[in-house]
C-alpha cells in the first residue's frame, strides 16, 4: 500500500502522553464520566446559543406559564421539557445558565487557589526549615476547620457577591494544593536534575517553576479535578443557604432554593432537575478524578 503519495504512517512511538491516554481509556466508566462532563460543560458554556429561551430576559417570560409540569407547552408554543418555575421560566434554560455560573465560579477560584497553593507548597519544600514549618502549620490550622464553616465566617463578614464567593473558595482550597505540591516537591528537590540546574547557576524562580513544578503536576491535576467538583458542591450549598451568589447571578444552588418553597405543595421539578444536573456534574467529575488518580499514581504503574 505504500507509495510516494501515501507514505506509511510513522511507527507509533510510546510517548508518556500516549501511554497516559491509553491508561485512562482502560476504564469505561471513567470514559463515560469524561464524555458526560464534556457534554455538560459544553452545553453550559454555549447556553446563550442553545437554550430555548434567555431565562433572565423578562420580556421572554410570561407569568401565566408559571409552574407548568414537565413536558407541557407554554402560551408561545415553547415546550417546557423539565417544567417551568414560578415566573414561567423554562427550567432547561435556567439550568444551563445556572451551570455556566457554577462552572465559572468553580474554575476561576480553582485556578487562583492552585496558583497560590502551588507557590506556597514550592516555597515550603524548597526552603525547608522555619519557612516550611510556618507555612505547613498555617495549612494544618486551615484544614482543621470545616470548609463550610470558613465560608460562612468569610461571607458573614464580607457580605454577598460573586467576587466574595470566589475569594472564599480560594481561601478554602489553597491549602489542599499547597500540601500536595509540597509533598511531591520535597521528593523532586533531591533529584539530580535539580542539582544540575543549581550547578548551571539558574535563578531560583526558574528552578522552582520551570524545573520542579512540571514534575509535580500529576498529583496537582488529580487534586484540581476533585477540588473543582467540591467547590461546585460547596458553592451550590452556600447559594442555597442564601449567603453565596447574589440573586442576579443564579447558580444551581439558587434555583434549588427557589423551588424549595413549592416543594411542600408537590411542585417538585423546580428543585429536582437542577439537583439532578448538579449531581450528574459532580459524579462525572469525580469519576474522571478517580481514574486520573489511578493512572497518575506511580505506585500503581505497571
Amino acid at each position: 500500500m505504500t507509495d510516494a503519495l501515501h507514505p506509511a504512517a510513522p511507527p507509533k512511538v510510546e510517548t508518556p502522553f500516549r501511554r497516559f491516554v491509553a491508561d485512562f481509556c482502560e476504564s469505561r466508566i471513567a470514559l463515560a464520566g469524561l464524555a458526560v462532563f464534556v457534554v455538560v460543560f459544553a452545553a453550559a458554556m454555549l447556553c446563550a446559543w442553545i437554550s430555548p429561551q434567555n431565562p433572565y430576559d423578562l420580556r421572554q417570560l410570561d407569568i401565566m406559564d408559571g409552574k407548568m409540569k414537565p413536558g407541557s407547552t407554554s402560551g408561545d408554543g415553547l415546550v417546557f421539557w423539565l417544567g417551568s418555575d414560578s415566573q414561567g421560566r423554562d427550567m432547561v434554560s435556567a439550568i444551563l445558565y445556572g451551570l455556566r455560573t457554577s462552572f465559572l465560579v468553580a474554575v476561576t477560584s480553582g485556578f487562583i487557589a492552585a496558583a497560590v497553593g502551588t507557590t506556597v507548597g514550592l516555597l515550603a519544600a524548597y526552603y525547608g526549615g522555619r519557612v516550611d514549618t510556618l507555612l505547613m502549620r498555617a495549612v494544618d490550622i486551615k484544614l482543621s476547620f470545616p470548609a463550610i464553616l470558613i465560608a460562612l465566617i468569610l461571607l458573614a463578614v464580607l457580605g454577598q457577591g460573586t467576587d466574595k464567593i470566589i475569594l472564599a473558595l480560594v481561601i478554602i482550597q489553597w491549602a489542599y494544593y499547597a500540601r500536595t505540591v509540597r509533598a511531591s516537591a520535597l521528593v523532586e528537590r533531591r533529584k539530580e536534575y535539580v542539582e544540575a540546574a543549581h550547578c548551571l547557576a539558574l535563578p531560583k524562580s526558574r528552578i522552582l517553576f520551570r524545573h520542579i513544578l512540571p514534575n509535580c503536576l500529576p498529583p496537582l491535576i488529580v487534586v484540581g479535578t476533585i477540588q473543582i467538583a467540591n467547590s461546585i458542591a460547596l458553592e451550590a450549598t452556600l447559594s442555597f443557604l442564601g449567603v453565596g451568589l447574589p440573586i442576579t447571578e443564579p447558580s444551581l444552588g439558587l434555583l434549588i432554593a427557589n423551588g424549595f418553597e413549592y416543594i411542600l405543595s408537590g411542585v417538585y421539578w423546580i428543585s429536582f432537575f437542577p439537583g439532578v444536573a448538579l449531581l450528574v456534574t459532580i459524579v462525572s467529575i469525580n469519576l474522571v478524578g478517580d481514574q486520573l488518580r489511578d493512572v497518575l499514581n506511580p505506585r500503581l504503574q505497571k
Binding site: 514549618t133 502549620r137 490550622i141 482543621s144 476547620f145 470545616p146 463550610i148 464553616l149 460562612l152 465566617i153 461571607l155 458573614a156 463578614v157 464580607l158 467538583a229 458542591a233 451550590a236 450549598t237 442555597f240 443557604l241 442564601g242 449567603v243 444552588g253 434549588i256 423551588g259 424549595f260 416543594i263 411542600l264 408537590g266 417538585y268 428543585s271 429536582f272 439537583g275 448538579l278 449531581l279 459532580i282 459524579v283 469525580n286
Partner: protein
C-alpha cells in the same frame, strides 16, 4: 505528653487570638461597628450611649481590647430581632444542634458498620456491590438536595414523617431531648438521616476496607482453628479490630457534622444554632452573627485540641513526631 499538651494549648491560644483579630477587623474595620451593634431605629441619645459603652470613640487598638473584654464578660450586644443578649440566644439553641449532630453520628455508625461488614464479608455479592455503589452516591450527592428529596418523598408524597420543626421534648434524668418522645423522634429522624448520609458512606468504606484487610489475617485463622463459630469470629474478633480506625475517624468527623448541621437545620427548620445564623444573616441581625462566629471558632478550637490530644494517646507516633521537630 505534658509538653505536647502545653504546645498544643499554646497553638490553640494563638489561633484564638488570630481568629478574634479576623472577626474584629471584619466587623470594625471593614464594616461600620455603629451600624452593626446599634439598631437602625435607635435615637441619637441611645446611639451615643451605646458608642460609649462599646468604646467606639477610642483608637482602634483600644477598641480591640474593649471587644475582647466584652466578649469575655459574655456581652456581645443584644439581638435586634429577639431583643436578648446574643450569646444567651446562641447558647439556648446549642442543645438542639448537638442533639442532631450526635444522633447523626450514632446513625452513621449503626447503619454504616453492619452494611460495611457485609460488603467486606461477601465482596462479590450483588448486595455488596449495591452497597458500594450507594456509598458513591452518598459522597457525591449534595446534602441540601438530598434533604429536599427526603422531604418530598417521606413528608409530601408518603406523608409518613413531619417535614419541619423539632417536635415535643421529653425529660429524662434532667436532660431535655426529643429522643424521649415519639413525636420528637419522628421529627428528628429525617434531619438526622440527612446529616448522617455522608458519614454513613464514609463508615461503609472504612468498615469494608477493614474487613478485607483483617479476614485473611492469622488471628482469624487461629480463632477458626480453635473451633469458634464463624459468627463469633466475625462479630467479636474481627469487629473489635476494625472498630479502632472507625472510632478515630468518626470522632474527627463530629466537628464536620456540627458545621454541616447549618445546611440540614435550614432545610428542616430545626431550631438549632445553624438555622439561627442563617436567619441572622438574612435579617442583618449582626450582633448574633458576631457572637456566633466567636462561639463557633472557640468550639472548634476546643474540639481540635481534644482530638489532637486523644490522637496522641491512641497513636504515640503523632506525639513523638511532633517532639522530634
Amino acid at each position: 505528653m505534658t509538653v505536647f499538651i502545653i504546645r498544643r494549648l499554646m497553638q490553640s491560644g494563638l489561633v484564638l487570638l488570630l481568629m478574634s483579630l479576623i472577626v474584629f477587623f471584619g466587623v470594625f474595620a471593614i464594616g461600620d461597628p455603629v451600624e452593626i451593634f446599634i439598631a437602625a431605629d435607635a435615637d441619637q441619645a441611645e446611639r451615643e450611649r451605646a458608642i460609649a459603652a462599646l468604646g467606639l470613640d477610642r483608637p482602634i487598638w483600644e477598641q480591640y481590647f474593649f471587644f475582647v473584654a466584652n466578649a469575655l464578660k459574655g456581652d456581645l450586644g443584644r439581638s435586634f430581632v429577639f431583643n436578648m443578649p446574643s450569646i444567651d440566644l446562641i447558647l439556648m439553641r446549642l442543645p438542639a444542634t448537638l442533639e442532631l449532630a450526635l444522633v447523626a453520628v450514632a446513625m452513621s455508625v449503626l447503619i454504616g458498620v453492619p452494611l460495611g461488614m457485609y460488603a467486606g464479608y461477601r465482596p462479590d455479592s450483588v448486595g455488596a456491590k449495591t452497597i458500594m455503589a450507594g456509598s458513591i452516591f452518598g459522597f457525591s450527592l449534595p446534602t441540601f438536595w438530598v434533604g429536599l428529596m427526603l422531604i418530598l418523598i417521606f413528608a409530601v408524597e408518603l406523608g409518613w414523617l413531619p417535614s419541619t420543626g423539632r417536635g415535643e421534648l421529653g425529660t429524662f434524668l434532667g436532660v431535655q431531648s426529643s429522643l424521649f418522645t415519639w413525636n420528637g423522634l419522628s421529627h428528628l429522624f429525617l434531619p438526622a438521616l440527612n446529616l448522617a448520609l455522608f458519614n454513613i458512606s464514609l463508615v461503609i468504606r472504612l468498615t469494608r476496607a477493614g474487613m478485607r484487610e483483617n479476614l485473611p489475617m492469622d488471628y482469624v485463622k487461629f480463632a477458626r482453628a480453635k473451633g469458634l463459630s464463624q459468627r463469633r469470629v466475625v462479630l467479636v474478633h474481627v469487629l473489635k479490630n476494625i472498630l479502632i480506625p472507625i472510632v478515630t475517624v468518626v470522632g474527627l468527623e463530629i466537628g464536620q457534622v456540627i458545621a454541616f448541621a447549618v445546611v440540614t437545620e435550614t432545610i428542616f427548620a430545626w431550631p438549632g444554632m445553624g438555622k439561627l445564623i442563617i436567619d441572622s444573616i438574612n435579617n442583618l441581625d449582626r450582633p448574633v452573627i458576631v457572637a456566633y462566629l466567636l462561639i463557633i471558632v472557640i468550639m472548634f478550637i476546643v474540639i481540635n485540641l481534644i482530638v489532637d490530644i486523644l490522637y496522641s494517646i491512641l497513636d504515640p507516633r503523632v506525639r513523638l513526631g511532633d517532639m522530634g521537630k
